[in-house]
Structure formats: C-alpha cells, structure tokens
C-alpha cells in the first residue's frame, strides 16, 4: 500500500484550478524558495521532539522516539511550527490513497475535482497516480500544482491520469532560479514546453516580488511558450508577493511590488499581434483565444482573480 505524508486537505478552494476543488497538500519539497509562505511544508519531521513541550493543548507527544500529533486536540496555534528548527511540521499524517479519497469523497457533490499541491506533489508521483485513478473513478477532475522539477515526459501514465499541471515559472534565468530556489530550472523550462505541447499546461504562475528579475521571467516564459500554444488557452497568472509566512532570514531580500509594477508587467508588449484587453467587460461574450501559436490577446481579468493575483491568458 502506497502512503504519502499529507500536511492537510482543504475541502473547498476556488484558487487551485477551475471551479471548486478539494486540495491535498503534501509535506516535503525539493525547492527552497525564498518567498515560500508555508516553509514548514518543505522538510520532513526529524522527530527531534523540540516542538512537543511547547504545545499548549497537549496535542503533541513523543512515542517510541517518534513525534505524534492528535488532530482532535490541535487548536492550530502554530507554536510547533515556530519551535521547529528543521523547517517542518509535526502535523503531518502518512495516509493511503484510500484514506485521502475518503476525506475527498465527503466533499462531493460540491467539488468538480481535486488538486494536489505541496510541498511538491510530484515527489509522490506514484501515490498521485493511484489517487488520480480513484478520483477519476468518482468522476472528479485531477490537477497537479507543481514546481516543475519532475520529468513529466518520462511518466506518460501519470500524465494520462492528470487533467493538467499548474506550473510555477519562478524565474526564467537559470542563475536567478538557483538563487531563488536552490535548484536548477532546466527541467521546469523543459516541462513548460512539453506540457504546453501536450495540452496539459493548465496554468503558468509567476510570483512577482521586488528583488527578483520579474520582467525577464515574464518575457522569457512568454517567448518560450508562444510557439507551442497550439491547443488552446493557457492562463498566465501573476501573483503579487506578500511577506506573510515568509522566513525572516529571507524576508529582507524581497518586497511586495507596488500595484504599478504589476500594472507595468501586465502592460508589456511582447508580440506584434498581442492585444491587451484593458478592462474586462462585466459579461463578456466568449473570447476566442489560441489555435494560432502566438498570443492572440491576453485577457486581464483582475476582477475574476484570486487573492490579489493577476491573470493573463495566452
């Protein structure tokens, strides 16, 4: 039986793919993004026990050298996260796909699908494939929210079970990516093209922060993808950096960009045929996108976006 460390499952989300979805957050990530706003999901628990004494409700204990967490006692005060020297969390459960599906099925029929996120979901690709098989059997959609470090081209079975990948384009420049995440972006760029060509690129996302080469990233990804967008819409979401949750050792390096900077990036003219729809009509007629291999237009729909992000549509 395959199991995976699950940080938490949210029953409803409107910001993790189209429609209302349940989201499974795994524990563990192979990137170390400076702007990560839930850094406690990066590393696995070392069972050092330093968090146990600080728990005000006795939800944490040590048994046989392992830290154990009782969910029903937890009040979510996060004192364990603050006490953890390893960038981890004791509030993680090893779950089977059946256990995850049991939790997800409680949310039917109010959701159209599930999204796996992280941490980094692709670290648990075999688990995800099994989970997606079971989700599809219930008629649910399947999306991955990934940092793009996994070679999707080598896993056609997973890709066949996955409706699409929401890919992070954290930085286009290799050095900038390495500095931001401690990891190479070679596979990310390869995946961006591969997924776009397979019509599995659900969404590309870039976090915009002062201190990062934002314009270079946006322009780079746009140019990289443009020749490959032959199969329809892809959403490019620009997310405004916010310091909440970011580790203090990194928070000084980055700052929230002013809205004017978001506006400027949105207004970049990258292609001869690009047109920017400045204001989305309240009730737009269907807009025709895609099919031509370059930007037909990009739609600015701030009124539709989640949590302060901006979206473009290729």
């Amino acid at each position: 039986m395959i199991t995976a460390p699950v940080n938490h499952i949210i029953p409803q989300s409107c910001v993790d793919g189209p429609g209302n979805r349940s989201v499974v957050f795994f524990q563990g990530c192979n990137f170390n993004c400076r702007y990560c706003h839930n850094p406690e999901t990066i590393h696995q628990c070392q069972n050092c026990g330093l968090c146990v004494a600080g728990c005000p409700t006795g939800a944490l204990s040590t048994e046989n050298g392992l830290v154990s967490w009782q969910e029903e006692l937890c009040v979510g005060c996060d004192s364990c996260l603050r006490a953890c020297p390893h960038g981890s969390s004791p509030r993680v459960s090893m779950l089977s796909t059946d256990q995850v599906m049991a939790r997800v099925a409680e949310n039917m029929p109010f959701i159209r699908g599930i999204t796996v996120s992280g941490g980094e979901c692709s670290l648990y690709h075999a688990f995800v494939a099994e989970l997606f098989t079971k989700a599809r059997a219930l008629g649910l959609g399947t999306l991955m929210d990934s940092n793009g470090s996994y070679d999707f081209s080598a896993d056609p079975q997973l890709l066949a079970l996955c409706d699409g990948v929401m890919l992070d384009g954290k930085a286009f420049d290799p050095q900038a990516h390495l500095a931001l995440t401690d990891a190479s972006n070679q596979m990310v760029l390869q995946n961006a093209v591969f997924l776009a060509r397979q019509n599995k690129l659900q969404e590309l996302r870039t976090v915009v922060a002062l201190g990062l080469p934002n314009e270079e990233t946006v322009v780079g990804f746009a140019r990289l993808l443009a020749p490959h967008l032959t199969r329809g819409d892809v959403l490019y979401k620009l997310i405004r950096y916010r310091a909440s949750g970011v580790r203090t050792c990194y928070s000084a390096q980055l700052a929230t960009p002013p809205m004017a900077e978001m506006e400027r990036l949105r207004g970049l003219r990258l292609f001869k045929h690009q047109h920017c729809i400045r204001k989305k009509p309240l009730l737009p007629k269907a807009l025709a996108f895609g099919g031509s291999g370059f930007f037909m237009g990009w739609e600015r729909s701030a009124c539709e976006t989640a949590g302060g992000s901006d979206r473009w549509r290729f």
């Binding site: 029953p11 429609g19 209302n20 979805r21 109010f110 159209r112 309240l282 269907a286 009124c303």
Partner: protein, 506 residues
C-alpha cells in the same frame, strides 16, 4: 386605554411618523381598518393559539379582499392585450415594457404591490433583435429602474431562465449597473438546460447585487399542472393563479405548549394544525365567496388568473428552535444542524406536519389537489429567537458542505417555497464558477432554492427579500426611504441578526 382610544392613538402615531412616506402611511392606515372588522368566523381556541404565538396571520387582517399572492398570466397580456386597461397587444419592446408597467399598477397583493412581475426574459426577448440590442439595453435598464422606484416593496419578484436569452443577459447587465433591491430575481435553473456561462453570469451578478437566486427548475416545474413562477420571497406558485393567503405556524411555540415530545406529536401539533386549517378555510371561503375580487376584478373576468389555479399556503417557521426545545425536553444533547438525532427529529416533525396538512381538504385549493401547500416562511421583522422556515439559526451555521446537506433534508417538504442563503467572501466572489459548482451540488443534495451575495454587496438578502444596506442605515438614522421592506429589513437586522450570517470562504 379603551379600544377606541387605542385605535386613535395608533392612527395618530402613523400620521405623525416622519420616517414614513405618504404612500407608506396610507397603506398602514388601510391595514388598521383590516384589523378592526371581523367578517368570517374564527375557530375555537384560535385566540389562545394567536396569543401564545403558535399561529400568526402575518397581518393579513380579518377582512380579506384580494388574494395575498397573484401571478398573472403576462403572456396573455402580450398576446391579447387587456380590455379593462385599454391595452392592445404590444408590437415592440417599448410598447411591451409600457404595457407591463401599466399592468403592474393594477395587480393587487397583500402589500398592494405586485409580487410577481413575470418571466421577464421570456416576455421581452421576442422583441429584441441584433439591430435593436443597444436600444433594448437602455429600455430594459430604465424599465427595471422604473420598477424599483414605483413598486416600493421588494416582495416584487421577476424570473429568468432556464434558457439563456439575450433579454436575460441584458437584465443581468442592468441589475449589475443599477444595484437596486427591487425587483427580486430568480433564475429558474436546470443545469441540463441552463448553459454554464449564463449560470456563471448569474452567480457573478448575484455576488454583486444579491440576485438572482437559483431555483430548482426541474423539481418546481413538476409540482403544479401548467406553468409556475417564483413570487415574493421565493414562493413557487402557479402562473395564472396564486395563493389566497399565507398563515404561519411558529413551531417552537407549539413545542412550548407540549409537555414532552410525545405530547407534541399526539396533541399540540395536530391541534394547532387543525385550528390553523379551520382558520384558513374560513378566511379563504370569505375571500372567494363574498369579497368582490373573484367576481368582478378584471384579472378574473379577462382570464389573467383562473380561480382553479389558486391554493393557500400553510407557512412554517422556527423548525430549528422547535427541534432544539424538543431535544431539551427529552434531555438529549444536540442541536439542530449539529446532531443527527436533532436533524432526524426535524424530519420527523416535518413528516408529521406534512401528513396532517395533506389530510385536510379545502375545496377552493384546486391548484394543489384541494390541499393547502406547505411553505417555509422566512419570518417577520419582530420575530425573536425564531429562525426562518427550516433554516439553522444564524450564528450556529455548520461548515458549508454540512450545512447544505442538512438543508437538503428539508427543502422537499415545501412545495410552495423554501430557501437558504450563503454569503461568500470577496475572494470566493471573484471565482463565480466555484460557487456554481457548489450550487449544482446543492441541488443534488436536495436544495430547491439557493441564494447568495458577497460580503461587500450593498444589496443584501434579509431573509427572503432584498434591501440596500445603505437604505437600512438611512432609515436607522431617521430618514424616510421609499421602500417599505427597508423597515422590515431594519427590524430583522436588529432582531434576527441578519448581518451576522456566516460568510463563506472558498
């Protein structure tokens, strides 16, 4: 104070009230008269049940002279015109709108304003073409503004759907721009007929101005012969007919009257139902047999309504508090919305009530098999510790999916209307497709009527009707406002904690 002095004092209070408009004062004065004349016999023990607030006649008074809810056949107006009003069948959008505006003025109701103004998209769409669409938008917007400013009561309700139409889209656009409380609006929603993009537009509009609501078209379209409409708050009734009356039972107070659960089911509830049915029989008989409406009103004589398409509504309020009290009386832990035992008891109460009401025959209620039809009444402004219909109390709402599944247990008991309200925060409001997913799920778990608005809308749903928050603030500061429902809204905000309703995140 003797009765005469009390009447004089009440009359004086009305004419001196600086928060009332002329029209509101006039209507209040007319209501006074309806309280003082008793023209039909009252059942034995009726007075006690009213005094202990087990039964409430919703201020209908004791001299009914028009049905409470009328749903005229507006198609007939468009097809054949109206002799009494000297209206020919309209030939274009301008004439159609003008004919409707004129006609509305002559449709009575308990509030003296029309509670159903038609399936507006269907009525108007035939007059809209590619060529006149821009002009149509201007006309529809001014039509809706006219309705808001002249029909000063948000129990006025329009319907759209289930098909997407050009007129339907223009109505949504106009409502977004107008931000008015009136008219209330319902999408007759069938996911198999209504395209997702139109339904999403409806959600998007609802999140900015609290309308439209979503009615389960598939279910509602099967419960009366012929066409139906959603009138007033969310009342599903036959078009070309309506409801004579709405009397309501305050279930909690029936439970107060009972020694225990057994006594509630064996004595208090059947007794209260019997008295209320007898009261309704008596009132309906007078209205049909003696008042002039069913003999001489042009709506009847020209066939805009048919006496055979009427019934009367048996309203229910406070199931939540009734169940909680019966649980307490049994010494069992658990509250309505949070305990399977309590929720099951709620089903038991409704099943008992349904059987009792179905056992009572009334010859005038031909639209519903000679039976009164159950209705989840939304409460009135002075209600205290009484949740609307079968809703969970504000302040005790469980998580969203649990709440929807719980509400789904009860909606099936109320053929003539029931509904729940789920406000969303602004993040969710930016993602209307997610909310449409939830509405689709809600219909699947048994909800028949779903309303929403966003945490920052000005127009909000009070219990069943809409009010602008900004109008409530004005009235609270002593400034008159034209719409009488604002007065009710202010009361419900103070007594019913409407602004404390749980706002949902996604």
């Amino acid at each position: 104070m003797n009765t005469l002095n009390a009447r004089e004092a009440e009359t004086l209070r009305i004419v001196k009230d600086t928060t009332l408009t002329h029209e509101q004062a006039m209507m209040k004065l007319s209501k006074l008269a309806e309280q003082y004349v008793h023209v039909f016999p009252l059942p034995e023990d009726f007075q006690r049940l009213v005094e202990t607030r087990q039964i409430c006649d919703l201020g209908e008074g004791f001299v009914p002279y028009a049905p409470r809810y009328i749903l005229p056949d507006y198609e007939k107006l468009l097809e054949s015109g109206c002799k009494f009003l000297r209206l020919d069948p309209p030939t274009n959008l301008f004439e159609a709108i003008s004919a409707l505006e004129i006609f509305y003025h002559h449709v009575p109701s308990v509030t003296h304003f029309p509670v159903f103004i038609g399936k507006l998209d269907k009525l108007l769409d035939r007059f809209i073409t590619d060529e006149n669409e821009a002009e149509a938008k201007v006309l529809i917007k001014s039509f809706l503004r006219h309705i808001d400013r002249t029909i000063d009561d948000s129990f006025c309700h329009a319907n759209i759907g289930p098909e997407a139409t050009r007129a339907g889209k223009l109505i949504l656009e106009a409502e977004l721009e107008l931000q008015d409380a009136i008219p209330g609006l319902t999408l007759l929603y069938d996911p198999e007929i209504t395209p997702d993009d139109f339904a999403t537009d409806c959600v998007r509009t609802a999140l900015r101005c609290a309308k439209p609501s979503f009615a389960d078209h598939k279910t509602y379209s099967q419960q009366y012969t012929g066409d139906y409409g959603i009138a007033s708050c969310y009342n599903a009734l036959p078009i070309g007919g309506g409801s004579y009356s709405l009397t309501r039972m305050l279930l909690k107070n029936v439970a107060v009257d009972a020694h225990d659960k057994q006594d509630f089911f064996a004595r208090s509830l059947p007794h209260a139902v019997a008295v209320m049915c007898e009261f309704m029989d008596s009132k309906v008989k007078f209205l049909v047999e003696e008042a002039s409406f069913f003999r001489s009103n042009f709506l009847i004589t020209e066939g805009f309504v048919d006496p055979d398409r009427f019934t009367a509504m048996f309203g229910v309020v406070g199931l939540c508090e009734c169940v909680n009290l019966l649980m307490e009386k049994q010494g069992i832990e658990g509250r309505f919305g949070h305990s399977d035992i309590a929720d099951q008891l709620g089903v038991e109460v409704m099943e008992a009530l349904e059987a009792l009401v179905a056992a009572h025959e009334n010859p005038y209620c031909k639209a519903f098999g000679n039976r009164f039809v159950l209705h989840a009444q939304v409460g009135i402004d002075s209600d205290f510790d009484t949740s609307p219909g079968a809703r969970i109390a504000i302040g005790e709402e469980p998580p969203l999916y649990d709440h929807l599944k719980q509400a789904g247990l009860y909606h099936r008991f109320f053929p003539s209307g029931v509904g729940d309200i789920f406000p969303f925060d602004t993040t969710a409001a930016r993602n209307p497709e997610s909310i449409l997913d939830i509405i689709k799920g809600a219909l699947k778990v048994g909800l028949r009527y779903f309303s929403t608005y966003s945490s920052d809308s000005d127009v909000i749903r009070i219990t069943g009707y809409l009010v602008k928050r900004s109008d409530i603030e004005k009235l609270d500061a002593g400034t008159p406002v034209s719409q009488d429902t604002v007065v009710l809204g202010l009361g419900s905000v103070k007594n019913g904690h409407v602004l404390e309703r749980k706002v949902r995140s996604l």
